[in-house]
């Protein structure tokens, strides 16, 4: 790369200096590319510097991700046994069964609630809200996206766990995580709806079709891939959230139970990563479980993101 960038500008400068106004003919006699005015050395150097800065920025994004993934996989794979997925956690040993179930139940509940609220919110913002109301509402959920999750956890703790005397449990965890997911799904819904071509809506309006029909048969149908992708991304984000869980579900070694959604602490994988780690527990068994839990979460996130990609690719192919 540097050889090319360093070598060619010299010749280019000679060409531009030597031929000036008649550069077209002179250049043509030297080489076929000479038809075009030569690129200055300065421009080439500028291009190279900018290219390097971009590559560096990309490396800065990718390096920590790779490092993290390699670290997690390195710690977990060496001691990996498939049966940890079905073995119960017993004190600081055993497997991941209860935390795994806990995470699945908490994440599903949170995404279910968040999806309903967010999709309706997104539809309202995109289709019905106008003027200042719309800006205020949009600002509100964008601010919500910026609130640190631990603050949301604390709010959940103060209002739900303590304020409503629910104690630690499934319900406060689900509610707090759903609040965390709402901005992402709302944003995805709103922007997918906004991308539905106006000509569809106009065509439907001009036929005198009711707005509900247009919404159901045309607008939502075109927006569904975008909304589903938003839901998957939101799931990937909340599934690894730890801070809110410290305040709301806490940890135990029982199975999550829909019959006891309050007053029963529920285990979860992110909490396990933190609580069983070498920072909290200087016990090898526990540390291995912590790494296993991290690996399972990493795989979850990866699968969710890949699924989102597949949906986007699929809908592109079928969009025409």
């Amino acid at each position: 790369m540097s050889e090319r960038a360093g070598g060619r500008p010299t010749g280019a400068r000679v060409a531009s200096g030597g031929h000036g106004a008649s550069g077209r003919h002179g250049g043509a006699s030297r080489s076929p590319e000479g038809m075009w005015p030569p690129v200055s050395r300065r421009r080439k150097a500028g291009n190279l510097v900018f290219w390097l800065l971009c590559a560096l920025a990309l490396a800065l994004v990718i390096a920590p991700t790779l490092w993290l993934a390699v670290d997690i996989i390195g710690k977990a794979v060496g001691n990996w046994q498939w049966n940890v997925l079905v073995t119960r956690t017993d004190q600081l040993q055993g497997g991941l069964l209860q935390p795994l179930l806990g995470t699945l139940v908490i994440a599903s509940g949170a995404i279910l609630i968040a999806s309903i609220v967010s999709i309706l919110t997104g539809m309202y913002l995109s289709e019905y809200a106008t003027g200042p109301l719309r800006s205020v509402l949009r600002g509100a959920y964008e601010v919500l996206a910026g609130i640190p999750s631990i603050v949301l956890g604390l709010v959940g703790y103060v209002t739900l766990v303590v304020g409503l005397h629910w104690g630690y449990g499934l319900l406060p965890a689900v509610l707090v995580l759903s609040v965390l997911a709402i901005p992402y799904i709302t944003k995805a819904t709103e922007s997918s709806l906004a991308q539905v071509p106006t000509s569809y809506r106009e065509g439907a309006d001009a036929l005198g079709l009711p707005p509900s029909w247009t919404m159901r048969r045309i607008v939502l149908k075109s927006a569904v891939p975008g909304i589903v992708t938003g839901v998957l991304i939101a799931t990937a984000i909340i599934i690894g959230e730890t801070a809110p869980l410290i305040y709301t579900s806490n940890f135990s070694d029982v199975n999550p139970s829909l019959a006891h959604v309050t007053h029963l602490a529920v285990p979860s994988l992110p909490y396990m990563v933190y609580y069983f780690s070498f920072l909290a527990q200087p016990i090898k068994h526990a540390n291995i479980l912590s790494a296993d839990a991290a690996l399972v979460l990493l795989v979850f996130v990866l699968v969710l993101i890949l699924l989102g990609r597949v949906i986007v690719a699929w809908s592109r192919r079928h969009a025409e």
Binding site: T130, P197, S199, Y200, E202, G203, A204, D205, A206, L207, G208, L209, P210, W213, R217, I218, K221, S222, A319, E320
Partner: protein, 285 residues
Amino acid sequence: MSTQADPAQPAEAAGPVRGRVDQAVVTAPHAATAGPVALTTAGLTLGFGTRTILSDVCVDVRRGAVTALIGPTGSGKTTLLRTFNRMNDRVSGYHRKGDVLLDGRSIWHPGVEVMELRRRIGMLFQRPNPFPMSIMENVVAGARAHRLVGKAGMKDVAEKHLTAVGLWGAVKDRLKDSPFRLSGGQQQLLCLARALAVTPEVLLLDEPTSSLDPAATQAIEELVRTLVPDITVIIVTHNLAQALRVADRTIFLNQGRMVENGETRQLFEHPAEEETAHYVAGRFG
């Protein structure tokens, strides 16, 4: 077709706006020349925000005829056309004075349901805009939603209207396919079939051939002639030759004012207004 409207309807329905009807009929220059009036605008002034697009427009549109709306860019042709089926109502900053009467009854009368109004006054846009569903579903979408046809009758309705626009032969084996694989002209014909399937009385065409090639343009123009006199057609066009070819009557708008309204030949060959003479001679716009 419902174009053979009940003659008693205008008189009985005019009610609160009858005064304006009379005024409009009087101000329209060619009111006495031809058959019954389908649409009338009475002192229609309309704008968005601080801009006024139409000022004091008084025209009448003959039932069962093709009427062309011509005028330079920005003269308010499309705005006037979109007012007829109330497509402007929800544009921000929209304000209006005056009235539009369909069969003598205000289209903004509280008793008028906008969905039903738009079923009666159909529209075709500059660019074909089929829905993202199969060709067959496109044709019957409106008819199904307005409960003009049940599930069983869908195929018949699709065949009838696709045949009417001359598209049946080309698509009869691919009714389940996406309409986006059709050519632009075919897509526009499909949109026309879709508009016809809800049995409109009036059809608004907003430069329907501006994105089409000459052959497709000819197909659409020939089709437009077959729609009258069952359907009243209003066509916005930039193409004066097209107006001459398809329109029985022509309305010339300039800077939001109605300049002249009359028989197409009369208007092109012996315009009453100097502005019209300039425009049809290609001297401005």
